[in-house]
């Protein structure tokens, strides 16, 4: 039902059941928010979004108040602005104020609010927050002193990921956010997905930095420093340099990485193709040999840790394939080292990932050969942007370059890994070929595309009808796993990504991207797939060569040794 309300003396239409904030946003008006999270239930706790409603004595939170017919609202009256300003001043009163040293300097919601509301003097001074840094995690650094208690990290961890590693602890002015029994993130159930970083308005959460270690190795002449980048990096890095969301700067990125001093530049999409060869073979093997089904993907290290903690009964369902990052790492330090005549210990292998959990995955003990890590350091997209700026590279002035051969050549199927549903689509294409000996007539699997948290489809492979499901956001994964536990058997293959929408919205991506930006990144990936000549992993000539010259066959002895792994049950605290 439609109704009309009056906002700042203008009449606008609204729908019954909408909140004031929904209506304002729909009409292109904005009020500042802090605790509000799109798609989740409003809490109205920060009171940043207050507006004046005629006839109401107190200011009203726009995020939680439903519209009423004839409501008269003032969004920026002086009373409202004064109230918002006071909130910001109070938030600043115990804030460390070390903006110049802060990760989020220039990209901080608190900074922006105080700028927008013209906070220009310290009216309220309180005791500064004094909490210990939590540097225990391999992926995420927490600084509770910078926290303004908006609660968005707590909610995303609970309501989107179903993990609840962090919670409000204590009461009143002594409240802060911490793990159970103040143990630190590494002992908590944290899966390192980094979605908390993505929603944090301040610098209270950030990735564990690897930049200085990489710089040390870049200046070490005895080291050959190689870098690989994940499929989704080339479509998101652009935003850090002022390009439109979804702009693909893969060529410029290759050039920039060489300017920084990386000796070889590889594309993780190549090893995504490799993952597909192994994973599709594993799927076909499981289906034809009555193996454990449904098989579940294992490319997402956030999901893998979640399964080890909360769903260890499902571990036999997980594909034994390492993730593309780790496969590339293993191939670099074996095949590539061999062909280049390099000793594996003299190769320093870096990866750029849209992900903080990759930093955890990289240091897992399963991910080593003879005591040498497959991958030595992991940069997030944000860290790469920082590294490029640090080296004074003007990315606009570069000429595009190609990645190094052979580990830099991909099919477009490998590129699709960046989006939720991409692994599934790539795997279906190759599994279809393995089962029937023929290519699919139409490669697109529309049912697994899009940003929805859960997608299901059925694919015909000859006589075989294969049921597939794609979930992103681990709350959705928990739901489908519960269905499998309860006996659902029409699904053969499940793709799970911890971050909503997949890696294009990963915890290591540029901060502040909205849904439109994520959608633009996804569209670019599918556009690339549309235009590319090689759309299937098994037709990537260098993958064929890698199997001919080195690996033998998928699931063979060498593959098993280098490209597959195992999982461990983890106790939860």
């Amino acid at each position: 039902m439609n109704l009309t309300i009056e906002v700042n003396n203008n009449t606008i239409e609204a729908k019954q059941g909408e909140t004031i904030l929904d209506v304002l946003n729909r009409h292109g008006m904005s009020v500042p928010t802090l605790c509000h999270m799109k798609g989740l239930f409003p809490t109205g706790s920060c009171r940043m979004c207050v507006v004046e409603v005629e006839g109401r004595r107190n200011l009203v939170t726009a995020c939680s108040e439903p519209v009423m017919p004839g409501m008269k609202i003032k969004t920026h009256s002086s009373r409202v602005i004064e109230s918002r300003k006071t909130i910001v001043e109070l938030l600043l009163s115990n804030h460390p104020d070390d903006c110049l040293y802060c990760e989020r300097n220039g990209n901080c919601e608190l900074q922006k609010l105080s700028e927008d509301l013209n906070v220009r003097e310290r009216r309220i001074s309180g005791t500064k927050n004094n909490y210990k840094l939590d540097v225990s995690s391999a992926s995420i650094v927490r600084d509770p002193a910078k926290c303004i208690l908006c609660g968005r990290c707590v909610r995303v961890c609970d309501e989107i990921e179903g993990v609840s590693a962090i919670e409000f602890v204590g009461r009143g002015s002594k409240t802060f956010i911490d793990t159970s029994f103040n143990h630190g993130l590494n002992l908590s159930t944290c899966i390192n997905c980094g979605q908390c970083i993505m929603v944090c308005p301040t610098g209270a959460l950030k990735e564990k930095p690897h930049i200085s270690e990489i710089k040390n190795n870049l200046s070490d002449p005895s080291k050959t420093v190689v870098i690989q980048y994940a499929p989704s990096i080339s479509v998101s890095l652009a935003e850090e340099f002022g390009f439109q969301p979804g702009h693909n700067i893969i060529g410029l990125m290759n050039a920039a990485l060489r300017r920084i001093g990386f000796d070889f530049v590889f594309d993780t999409s190549f090893s995504a193709d490799l993952t597909i060869m192994e994973e599709a073979s594993e799927l076909v093997h499981r289906i034809t040999n009555q193996g454990v089904l449904p098989m579940i993907t294992s490319c997402c290290p956030g999901w893998v840790k979640y399964a080890e903690e909360f769903s260890h009964d499902m571990l036999p369902h997980l594909s034994s394939c390492k993730s593309p990052q780790q496969m590339m790492g293993a191939i670099i330090k074996s095949y590539f080292a061999e062909t280049e005549g390099l000793a594996p210990e003299n190769i320093y292998s870096v990866s750029v990932m849209p992900c903080t959990a990759k930093k955890f995955e990289q240091q897992r003990e399963e991910m080593t050969q003879n005591g040498i890590s497959d991958v030595d350091a992991v940069l997030t997209t944000r860290e790469l942007a920082r590294l490029i700026r640090m080296h004074g590279i003007d990315i606009n002035k570069l000429e595009p370059e190609l990645a190094d051969s052979p580990l830099g050549t991909r099919s477009s199927a490998g590129k699709l890994f960046g989006s939720s549903g991409g692994v599934m689509e790539a795997a279906i294409r190759t599994a279809h070929y393995f089962v029937t000996g023929k290519e699919m007539v139409k490669f697109q699997v529309k049912g697994v595309r899009g940003l929805e948290g859960r997608k299901e489809a059925f694919v015909q492979m000859g006589d075989l009808r294969v049921g597939v499901a794609v979930v992103s956001g681990l709350k959705n994964a928990a739901d489908i796993i519960e269905e499998v536990r309860n006996g659902r058997s029409d699904i053969h293959f499940i793709e799970v990504m911890a971050c909503p929408g997949g890696c294009i919205n990963g915890g290591g991506q540029p901060i502040g991207a909205d849904e439109d930006a994520i959608r633009a990144r996804m569209r670019t990936l599918y556009d690339i797939d549309e235009k590319d000549a090689i759309k299937v992993s098994h037709k990537n000539p260098y993958i064929v060569e890698l199997y001919d010259k080195f690996l033998g066959k998928p699931l063979g002895h060498k593959s098993h040794h280098l490209l597959h792994t195992h999982y461990q049950k983890r106790d939860i605290f």
Partner: protein, 156 residues
């Protein structure tokens, strides 16, 4: 052999999240504090993450997370006691016991807790040791009060 926590949980069949606080109260009554193991066990039973339970429990003053000492010292910080100098009493107590409020001494003899008001304002500033009240305490009298309990230990 059922653990103490499991024993308590048998009294809460089909319990929902609303039973959390009564369960925690009973656990604390039996164990003297909320141990990590107990919180995890309760969490498994109620299908609640341990972090959430820890969050709830730290919100309330009544829950503690370290084993209480043999003698549990409560320092009243209510209004009347405050006016008559309970801040100094607490400070002195922390100094004498060498622990902060909420913690237990290393020899497990004393634990120190701050309470809001124990309803004995006429005796302010008042402390209670295992339920035994000591009226009108001063920084000087604290030493002798603690001495009495320490002596009890060495005699027995």
């Amino acid at each position: 052999m059922k653990s103490t926590v499991q024993e308590i949980l048998t009294h809460y069949p089909n319990a929902g999240h609303d039973s959390l606080i009564p369960i925690l109260q009973q656990v604390q009554e039996k164990l003297g504090f909320l141990s990590e193991e107990a919180v995890i066990e309760v969490g498994k039973y109620l299908k609640m993450p341990a972090s959430k339970i820890f969050g709830v429990a730290t919100f309330y003053n009544q829950f503690r997370f370290t084993q209480p000492g043999k003698y549990h010292v409560q320092v009243c910080r209510g209004t009347a006691c405050h006016v008559l100098g309970s801040a100094t009493v607490l400070e002195e107590m922390e100094k004498q016991l060498k622990v902060k409020a909420g913690l237990t001494t290393r020899d497990k003899l004393f634990s120190l807790e701050v309470v809001a008001c124990i309803g004995a304002c006429g005796l302010a500033p008042v402390i209670s040791v295992n339920g035994e009240f000591h009226a009108k305490v001063t920084s000087e009298s604290i030493k002798s009060i603690l001495e009495v309990y320490r002596n009890k230990e060495t005699q027995s």
